[in-house]
Symmetry: C2
DNA sequence: GAACCTCCTGACCACATGGTAGAGGTTCGG
DNA sequence: CCGAACCTCTACCATGTGGTCAGGAGGTTC
């Protein structure tokens, strides 16, 4: 529908100049942060604007509505996620090594940008309208991962099992790591690098036991 | 949507009168359902009342405020959760068998009352005020589980590892099973009994590999 | 200097929200 | 029959919400 006119700012292709982010970008990032932690319903445009030190109407100038903003946020998050995974998948490594590399990169992301995975969790709520949008973005990636796993299984590099369910378990675990900080605290653990490393090791062990033929 | 009527089929209870639930109870259950799926912020008292066919003010008569309602819902959910776990823990079985029994009962719960685990997820959002309330309720249970695991480790029945992190992983998995239906669909799987069974098997395999000395 | 553009803002609006006040209505003991 | 506690309702309110409108500041073009 209302395709946001891309304001000439598509020049941000090559030079990684640390240029001051445009207002539009600042809004996007703040919204991602807030949607990913406080939730969509829990975030008001007024709060967002106040936090950014701008007028709410400025948000609505750049994004036609709150829903449009969410859509943009989802698009951005999907792109970022895809980039992370693509990078990890670039290696031509096969078998277990590739999986391990992938898991490590996602855990790094979970640690650095927990709100990004928080957004996943938020958006994938049952009945969410943006769920479809997100999965449209991620579907090819998932498909690719699935085909890779299945090919590896067929080739005998990995043990046969339901690739999609394995992916799902890995997903749950990583998102859990990023979003269940409160639970962590409740169990009496302060989230540290170490605990994350342990959980990563656990996931790897699980994947290994599920996928690697002994 | 209908059939809020709990079958009350707790296995070993002596035929409690299936009395029509009081308005207060109906409110509590509807709120649990809605908070656990649509979220707290996403649930308005008006919607809730309309859905129940009562006036909003009736809700506010029984529960002083929306927050008070949430508190009551959290209390109720914690009680239900505790009851489920307690029942599974009643057996004097030791070692792996007990763990397996526990996992099975929780999966059963995840299948039957996904909104209950959805509420967990909702409430354990970073910064949630009710997180503390929930963990107050569940803390003794967690502690008990931890001590059990550690004792079993010390006794050599289970392999040594960080009991709390194992618990956390199990938690993530189960809550994921209950709440990530949209993700499941996005990956191209319709949630069925079978997929749940597979994921339960996976969790058990993981726990086994983490806990059982080969 | 005028016309035009992009970016941003203050003033304002319709409406949904959580919450209050008060008026019945029902039930039950005295 | 009376009152009292309990429950539910209609009517209303203050505030916060997403969103509209008109316009201003700064720059570029002719």
């Amino acid at each position: 529908m209302a395709a946001i006119v891309d304001p000439a700012g598509s020049a941000a292709s090559d030079s990684p100049a640390p240029a001051a982010p445009s207002t539009k970008e600042r809004i996007l990032h703040a919204a991602l942060e807030s949607f990913g932690t406080t939730g969509f319903d829990g975030t008001s445009l007024d709060d967002l604007a106040r936090h950014l030190g701008i007028a709410k109407q400025t948000i609505l100038y750049h994004y036609a509505s709150k829903d449009a903003l969410l859509a943009a946020v989802v698009d951005h998050a999907a792109a970022e996620l895809t980039a992370t995974l693509e990078e990890a998948l670039r290696s031509e490594e096969l078998g277990w090594g590739r999986i391990e590399r992938l898991v490590r990169s996602v855990f790094r992301l979970a640690l650095r940008r927990p709100e990004l995975l928080g957004l996943l969790r938020e958006v994938s709520r049952p009945g969410s309208a943006s769920a479809a949008r997100l999965s449209d973005h991620l579907e090819p990636l998932v498909e690719r991962a699935r085909l890779f796993l299945e090919a590896e299984m067929a080739a005998g590099h990995l043990r046969s099992s339901d690739a999609r369910l394995v992916l799902l378990s890995a997903y749950s675990t990583v998102v859990g790591v990023a979003t269940e900080v409160e639970v962590l605290k409740a169990v009496g653990i302060e989230p540290t690098l170490r605990t994350t490393a342990v959980r990563r090791r656990e996931l790897l062990r699980f994947l290994r036991s599920a996928l690697v033929a002994d």
